[in-house]
């Protein structure tokens, strides 16, 4: 921990684009398209900043405005889960949408927190690590609420059971989930698995974690109180999951050093287990104002979200980040998705006690900066300002799209094609025995097998789906 200077990046190996430089060179071509941004999105970033973004800012916006992080295409639908919740449904809801995990009051002063998340594409590319790190991410969300994780569940969809590649994905995903969760002492208490060719090449890997906490132990992640320290702790930052940032680095700067890095992160459940105990002890001893986990978009996400949820300002010295790979550039550090990392906001008077707890658990730590009241997220690299943005524009006010949608007409036929259409041994008159949720929509309790025994539903009555096709 004292070797910080050797292991953080040696100055001079990479000169990032500064804010001053960006202002002075407005016409520099930037690889926004290669980073997944559309031209209008890039232009709106320029408009927000009143200048071109630095390469570091471009890295942050591109990753935070990606579909993966911002849900820009699905937000308008997902939002309805919040809007359509009635007061009765909210009766026992302690924390709803917008936080790291939902929290429900279960009585007796106890609460339960849930977090479910998909890790689909990574689990197809590298099934074991993709699924394992999926568990790691949701467990850190549970910890950041102040809860102790107690169990996991999974909901899995794989391709055709007879297809050549399915075995690779199934074995890897199942071992990845069980390996990671077991090492944390979390039993897998249930789940479901479906094989269907529609998931060929695109498996769905949803994992849920459950945590338990006392009401008074509930914490929300935000950066409040100017002068409070921002501390990064846990595993070191490496080159995991920064495929995009390497485009930036190689485009803007001379070649040299590795640019091709693994796009799937590698998990270390032992580091996570130690983090669980460390965070719970920090909460118990009231040494932190808030803790935010680092997942997708890493430091870009954690700093901009913490600042957006708090007083709005933060100052970070990025060269203080402890690195696993000293050749990482500033842009790569901002985007790295290295696992088992957490960011805490700590009152200066409690910093020594905080560091003592973290040290006890042999967790590496570096103080990166502090909360400010400037309303700006400012990030320096070896003394030079490389990011200066309003955090909400990165974390909250990203683009939202209303994509064109069309009703898939083929689905009516599929929905109508249920087992009820098959001739069977069931007595023809006992319509009461078909207890499907769809029974209310049936026109009449006619004989099974009759062409009128299923009703073609309009999209308005869509919620009732045949169990054989629900996916």
């Amino acid at each position: 921990m004292t070797t910080e200077t050797e292991l953080t990046q040696a100055p001079g190996t990479h000169v990032p684009d500064t804010v001053a430089n960006a202002a002075a060179t407005p016409d520099r071509e930037q690889p926004y398209a290669a980073l997944g941004l559309k031209e209008d999105e890039y232009l709106s970033i320029r408009e927000i900043l009143g200048r071109r973004p630095t390469s570091g800012e471009l890295a942050m916006y591109s990753v935070m405005w990606s579909e993966h992080c911002s849900y820009k295409s699905s937000k308008m639908y997902l939002r309805q889960f919040g809007e359509k919740v009635s007061p009765t449904m909210k009766k026992n809801l302690m924390v709803g949408m917008g936080e790291n995990a939902g929290v429900v009051d279960v009585g007796g002063g106890w609460a339960v927190t849930f977090k479910g998340e998909s890790h689909n594409h990574p689990s197809y590319i590298e099934p074991f690590q993709g699924a394992a790190t999926g568990v790691g991410g949701i467990v850190r969300d549970i910890i950041s609420m102040g809860a102790r994780p107690v169990a996991v569940m999974d909901q899995l969809r794989f391709g055709d059971i007879d297809a050549d590649d399915t075995r690779r994905v199934v074995d890897g995903v199942v071992s990845g989930i069980s390996f990671y969760a077991n090492c944390l002492g979390l039993p897998n208490i249930g789940g479901e698995t479906v094989f269907d060719k529609v998931y060929q090449g695109n498996p769905l890997v949803n994992v849920l974690s459950v945590g338990v906490l006392r009401h008074e132990d509930l914490h929300l992640a935000n950066a409040k109180g100017a002068g409070n320290k921002v501390v990064l702790f846990g595993a070191r930052t490496g080159g995991d999951g920064i495929g995009g940032a390497s485009i930036l680095a190689s485009d803007t700067f001379s070649a040299g050093g590795p640019t091709k890095r693994p796009s799937v992160q590698v998990g270390d459940p032992f580091a996570e287990k130690v983090l669980i105990e460390c965070c719970l002890e920090l909460f118990r001893d009231e040494l932190v104002e808030g803790i935010q986990d680092l997942g997708a978009a890493g430091i870009s996400c954690a700093t901009s979200e913490l600042a957006s949820n708090g007083d709005g300002g933060m100052f970070i010295e990025l060269d203080k980040v402890l690195l696993r790979d000293p050749t990482l550039t500033a842009e790569e550090i901002l985007m790295s998705e290295s696992q088992e990392r957490m960011m805490a906001v700590v009152h200066p008077s409690k910093l020594d006690a905080f560091l003592a707890v973290v040290d006890k658990w042999d967790v590496e730590t570096s103080v990166l900066g502090e909360v400010t009241d400037t309303g700006r997220l400012v990030i320096n690299w070896h003394g030079e300002e490389i990011v200066n943005v309003e955090p909400r524009t990165v974390a909250v006010d990203g683009p939202v799209y209303e994509r064109p949608v069309a009703y898939p007409t083929w689905i009516d036929e599929l929905q109508a094609d249920t087992a009820r259409g098959l001739p069977g041994p069931r007595p023809a008159t006992s319509s009461g025995r078909s207890s499907s949720r769809c029974s209310a929509h049936r026109t009449s309790p006619t004989r099974a097998g009759s062409p009128t025994s299923t009703t073609r539903m309009s999209s308005a009555t869509r919620p009732c789906r045949s169990p054989t096709t629900a996916a």
Partner: protein
């Protein structure tokens, strides 16, 4: 009676072991691996889990933790020590009991409610059982295969150091169906199954009488309380 439960980085069943101690009527004392202080406890439990992530070899790094110096000294002076699962592996790595552990023969993690036969009811942790009694204790491991060279097996079989044997199914390919062993003196016992998970009705293995009602594991902890009455003074 005060019984210490050592927490290592990566321990998972330390709290369960503390609870079992409490249920048996003793006082659990949380001990930290990085300390050199046994806090005057009269018996010690090395709990299950993944100390140091099972990196290098299961139990290998933890067996060199600072507190293990004191644990080894105490064990050699006759203080009862119980190693459960990962704790069993630490005892083997620390050479407090004979033998070693490898990956299960079938290469898979296994969890089951396991039948065991008590082969030595004279140790500090088994004196509440009848010799030859069959009990059911939950088991969960991936590196639980007990092995030793022929000579060692012959010796521990001859000296009654085999404390427990798997009955019905050998879940991991352990030599001679050995589930648990003791040192010669009988104060140090290690086993792969988890007695702390069978101490409370509603949370134990199923029995013919009722679901989850098995509490065979409680006898480990009541045994050591009985054994402690013969110890004259706590260590340190």
């Amino acid at each position: 009676m005060r019984i210490g439960v050592v927490t290592f980085p990566g321990s998972l069943d330390d709290r369960d072991a503390q609870r079992a101690v409490r249920l048996a009527g003793a006082t659990p004392v949380a001990l930290w691996h990085g300390s050199h202080d046994l806090e005057g406890v009269e018996a010690i439990i090395l709990p299950g889990g993944f100390s140091y992530g099972d990196y290098l070899r299961a139990g290998a790094i933890a067996s060199l933790s600072p507190i293990m110096t004191e644990v080894v000294d105490a064990a050699n002076k006759g203080v009862p020590v119980l190693g459960i699962c990962n704790g069993f592996q630490m005892l083997a790595e620390a050479r407090l009991i004979p033998g070693a552990h490898t990956r299960n023969a079938h290469q898979q993690f296994i969890r089951r409610d396991q039948r065991l036969r008590v082969e030595n009811a004279a140790t500090d942790w088994t004196n509440g059982f009848e010799q030859g009694q069959e009990i059911t204790i939950p088991l969960k491991n991936a590196d639980g295969r007990f092995i030793a060279d022929d000579e060692t097996i012959k010796r521990i079989e001859g000296q009654g150091q085999v404390a427990f044997r798997y009955v019905g199914v050998n879940p991991n390919g352990s030599f001679d169906d050995i589930a648990g062993v003791s040192n010669e003196r009988g104060n140090v016992v290690g086993l792969m199954p988890h007695p702390e998970h069978a101490t409370e009705p509603g949370f134990g293995p199923d029995t013919p009488a009722a679901m989850s009602s098995g509490v065979d594991g409680l006898t480990f902890f009541t045994s050591v309380i009985a054994a402690s009455l013969k110890i004259e003074a706590p260590v340190k």
